[in-house]
Every structure is written in structure tokens, then in C-alpha cells.
Symmetry: C2
Subunit: 81 residues, 2 copies
């Protein structure tokens, strides 16, 4: 089973890295951009020892406790067989 | 319209950052992990000036030409209204 965890800055937190990318893209002539935000992305391969509910709980725990800084970041995740 | 671009290392490229996270998680007692890989994730808000096909082409071009290092990375993206 594979889990995909997406961590991004909360909407209320400024993202200077994203703003820099947006400015660079604009200077390079790319059109139609309103906003760019950057986040992190984790691909976690799970071994067969966990069923779907256990895997979901474990990945949620890892994402919440380790991969995300709850003060400034939020996460979402998905599982795939 | 919003575009989500996911950039990850090619399967054939070693990911020491992911391995470090995996080792740390194992030491912290999380079970069932086989492999962890880290990537980048971009959230791009597009203004209304582009139709869906144009937006798709523009985002694909940005991902290919700017956000990804084609030697070691690969990308996928999705659009959302």
C-alpha cells in the first residue's frame, strides 16, 4: 500500500518561497498566474502487515506528529492500494 | 482555477532525505514502513484569463521547464476548477 502525504503552509501564513517562484515565473513571461505556494510531499510505501484502517491511522499519526509543524502547516493524505 | 504540481525524484535516483526520515520514524517506533521518499509540491492559482486547455498547457510548460530538474526529477500535475 502507498500513502501520499501533502504538507502545505496554512492559508494565513506568508509563503516567501512561493512568492519568489511566482515573481520569477512572471519575469520569465509565463501568463495567468495569480498565486504560487510551495509545500512538501511524501510518498510512503507501507508493508503488507497493516490493514487499510490501521494504515490510515498510522499515516495520519505520522503526518500529524512528525511531518507537519502544526503551528504553521496543515496536511492532507491519501492511500492507494 | 487551481493547479497542483507534484515533483519527485525519479525511482532510479537515491533519496537520502527520504531514507533519513524513514530511519527516524523507525527509531520513533512507527510500524509498517517500507520506504519513504520526499518530493516538492506546488499549488498554483491561475486567473480566469485561460481556458482549461490553455491552463493545462501553461502549467505543463511551467512544471517541465522551471519546477523540475529533468535529469533527476519527474512531475505530475492536476487541475481543479
Amino acid at each position: 500500500m502507498k500513502a501520499y502525504v501533502y504538507v502545505s503552509l496554512k492559508k494565513s501564513v506568508l509563503d516567501p518561497q512561493g512568492k519568489t517562484i511566482q515573481g520569477a515565473l512572471k519575469k520569465m513571461g509565463y501568463k495567468g498566474l495569480q498565486d504560487v505556494r510551495q509545500g512538501k510531499y511524501f510518498e510512503i510505501a507501507l508493508n503488507g502487515g497493516l490493514n487499510r484502517a490501521e494504515a490510515e491511522a498510522e499515516v495520519e499519526r505520522i503526518a500529524r506528529e512528525v511531518l507537519t509543524n502544526p503551528v504553521i502547516e496543515e496536511f492532507r493524505f491519501s492511500l492507494e492500494d
